[in-house]
Amino acid sequence: MSTDTGVGNGAGHSPAPFRPDLLAGGSFIALGLAFAIGGARYDVGSALRMGSGYVPIALGGTLVVLGALVVVMAFRGGDPAIRDVERPPVPWRRAGLLVAAILFFGFTVEGLGLAPTLLVTTFLAALAAPEVKPVRAALTAAGITALCLVVFVALLQLKLPLLGDWLGG
């Protein structure tokens, strides 16, 4: 609870709104609206028998208000906790590779089976490392895959198919 909203704090500190707060506040408003509007499709009910929509609408509305406060903070000099922190550029490519690796796992683990899926997933993830060569990533992937198979399949006896239907397992 070290710092609070920038109400009155550092007004006129900088003329442009503080982008991270703008984005955070905007996201909260968007998410709050999404839940509130989504919740309105369900039965709201009464205080005695609250329907499925009651709580999401109430909370969604609260989130919109809080998001608005964060946006206000953006125009009043920004959140002091991160205002002066350096932010390196977002590593889009690497983050994309990691997300792709995880999504690949989810989509294919049942069809391809654990072993081939893991090889691809770890290879994609290893490619996200800085200054890595594909060969090196492949070696890393093979090693981690072998380790995972030993730990989860041989030692823990998880009942996951090594090869899935798509490969005729």
Binding site: P116, A154, K159, L160, P161, L162, L163, D165, G169
Partner: protein, 330 residues
């Protein structure tokens, strides 16, 4: 498919000779050659899981293969149902499911499978009686008292249940229908929390399986009115049946059965049925079920025919009741 490939295939894998490692064609006569997975649609430790684990061991012994219990929770057991309906019809994935198999068509209009068309029945396992119980200081003393009390105080009496589609909710619907009242239902996330609040006197009464109520009744921590079976329950000698006590229409038991995908060869189903029959005669299974206040079904019900008949009868019973009550699983 989720058949477990034996560890030896690890070696094949490293050579990446993928095709060579595929499982061979299933030969029904040789079944079972591999571990069998028994899919439980509810969480580990719950009553259905307990029944599954109890019978898995003697069945495995009889079949000569390991049976692995896998818990696939969610959406009132329909996720597990969908998984087994889509599984390879080779007998290596078996579903154990309870009364929820017959209520799913009523609760879930967009159900991804048909309980009758997409499965072969293996046999019934057990029919767990239910009990009508109340908080310890609840006024009515007998089931008759309860009925008149509920009729007079329909506005204030609270009826607990373990959530949408739970056996306790179904039994509650039957009671409301039989008495002709619409009570305030208080849903809980499972039986444990509901029992906690019943014992603590936060809610008035509920109807739940003996699995959950027997020990609390025996210890006098809650009040019991009746059992919902035609016969009295041995573990609870003091409780009359609903028929004896004046609510003959409230007949409900949490029956369990085993299922395999519809295209499974009959030879495999016969082997499973035979193993189930042996398991249900196992003294340990009988003893353990007795501590839960239930018994294995009689031998003549451990057949696909009896099981299918029960399933059909229950679907016909529950679907209109559920539709009338407006309850939905979504």
């Amino acid at each position: 498919m989720r058949r477990h490939i034996p560890l030896t295939s690890l070696a094949c894998l490293t050579m990446l000779t993928l095709a060579a490692c595929g499982g061979g064609d299933a030969d029904p006569a040789a079944y079972p050659e591999d571990d069998i997975t028994m899919v439980v649609p509810f969480s580990a430790g719950g009553p259905t899981d307990t029944v599954a684990r109890l019978i898995a061991e003697p069945m495995a012994e009889e079949l000569g293969a390991d049976i692995v219990v896998q818990n696939v929770e969610g959406a009132g057991g329909t996720i597990a149902g969908g998984q087994v309906a889509d599984a390879d019809a080779d007998g290596y994935e078996v579903l154990i499911h309870h009364i929820g198999m017959s209520t799913a068509p009523g609760l879930y209009p967009d159900l991804a499978y048909d309980p009758l068309e997409d499965f072969k029945t293996v046999g019934l396992v057990t029919d767990v009686p239910m009990t009508i119980v109340a908080r310890p200081d609840f006024e009515p003393e007998t089931l008759e008292d309860l009925v008149s009390y509920v009729e007079e105080n329909a506005d204030t009496v609270t009826l607990a249940n373990a959530g949408v589609g739970a056996a306790s909710q179904l039994c509650g619907l039957l009671i409301e229908q039989a008495v002709g009242v619409d009570l305030t239902e208080v849903p809980y996330d499972g039986t444990g929390p509901a029992m906690t609040d019943l014992m603590g006197g936060q809610v008035d009464f509920m109807c739940d399986q003996t699995t959950n109520t027997a020990s609390q009744l025996q210890a006098g921590k809650i009040k019991g009115y009746a059992v919902t079976t035609p016969e009295p329950v041995e573990a609870l000698p003091d409780l009359p049946t609903t028929a004896e006590a004046g609510l003959p229409d409230v007949q409900v038991g949490v029956w369990h059965g085993l299922y395999v995908p519809a295209d499974t060869p009959d030879e495999i189903v016969e082997k499973l049925t035979a193993a189930l029959e042996v398991a249900l005669e196992d003294q340990n299974v009988v003893d353990q079920m007795a501590t839960l206040g239930t018994t294995p079904v009689p031998a003549e019900d451990v057949t696909p025919e009896a099981h299918t008949a029960k399933l059909e009868e229950q679907i016909d019973l529950w679907t209109p009741i559920i539709e009338e009550s407006g309850v939905t699983g979504g």
